[in-house]
Amino acid sequence: MEALLASAIGLLTAVGIYLMLRQRTFPVILGLTFLSYAVNLFLFASGRLAVNAAPIIGLTKPYADPLPQALVLTAIVISFGMTAVIMIMAIGGYLSAGHDRIDLDRGADE
């Protein structure tokens, strides 16, 4: 399970970085989403992986660490909100500029 999780985090990070380096807005946003998935998994794994364990101290022995689960919930909510913000701004930029390139090309604006 550790190998599966580690390779999933690595794969998501690689996909995210590749897509972030693209030129158009939508792949960049997708890349940011993949990177935030990777970091959420990584944050979740920071509490040690436990199978069939309740996140409550004293109920089962061993127990799953509840703190990273709370942290990852907060991180998911925040990254979801940030994705919504950048999506709205990308649509606004596309509608006002007429193209969806993410780099600042001075000639393209005129």
Partner: protein
């Protein structure tokens, strides 16, 4: 427990909500409310600075929850000094924005400025690394609004780049934070020694 420690976070949030709900579109009243809130923030920051200088560091547990589960604010000399600096700079920025008329170019300059102040004050006062991240996102999301305040294609596209860079930075911050917060078996600021060790 000194309840004034939470005031630099709560006051701008409250004033921003009042401005959005009750003073929508009334720029003069928004300017007055914004300046009044920033002056009050200055007074609170100076009082906190005096308290930190004379009585030493102080922790504030929100809702009296114990440290790893609740949100902890810490007032020490550095955070009090930074909040005082924030209040002084906010006054200068708000006066410049009002004097130059920049706040009239968009709809919600003053509420966004208040939310920005809330996030910065929280980031300075927070006691653990994860809430630093949360308050940082609060100030960033207000700064996104301020970044594209006034609109226009060039500003919007620069704003997209700004948001993208900040999202990358937030992800890297979380990548750094996750190994620090795992705290097994040794205690960290987010996991004190009083908790039982987690299973290997």
């Amino acid at each position: 427990m000194n309840h004034w420690i939470i005031a630099p976070v709560v006051l701008p949030a409250f004033v921003a909500a009042v401005m959005v709900i009750m003073l929508r579109g009334q720029l003069d009243l928004q300017r007055i409310a914004s300046l009044a809130a920033i002056l009050a923030l200055n007074a609170i920051a100076l009082a906190l600075l005096w308290s930190a200088a004379t009585r030493g560091p102080e922790a504030y547990f929100l809702g009296d929850w114990p440290a790893p589960f609740g949100i902890v604010l810490v007032l020490d000399q550095l955070s009090a000094l930074m909040v005082a600096l924030l209040a002084a700079l906010a006054l200068i920025c708000a006066l410049y924005a009002i004097g130059s008329g920049w706040d009239a170019r968009g709809a919600h300059f003053h509420p966004l400025l208040m939310f920005l102040l809330m996030g910065i004050a929280g980031a300075f006062l927070t006691g653990d690394a994860f809430n630093l991240f949360v308050f940082f996102e609060v100030l960033l999301i207000a700064s996104y609004g301020l970044m594209i305040h006034g609109g226009g294609p060039a500003r919007t596209r620069a704003g997209i780049q700004y948001v993208a860079f900040n999202l990358i930075g937030s992800s890297l911050f979380l990548f750094g934070l996750a190994p620090c917060s795992s705290g097994c078996p040794e205690p960290t600021p987010m996991r004190p020694a009083s908790l039982p060790p987690c299973s290997p």
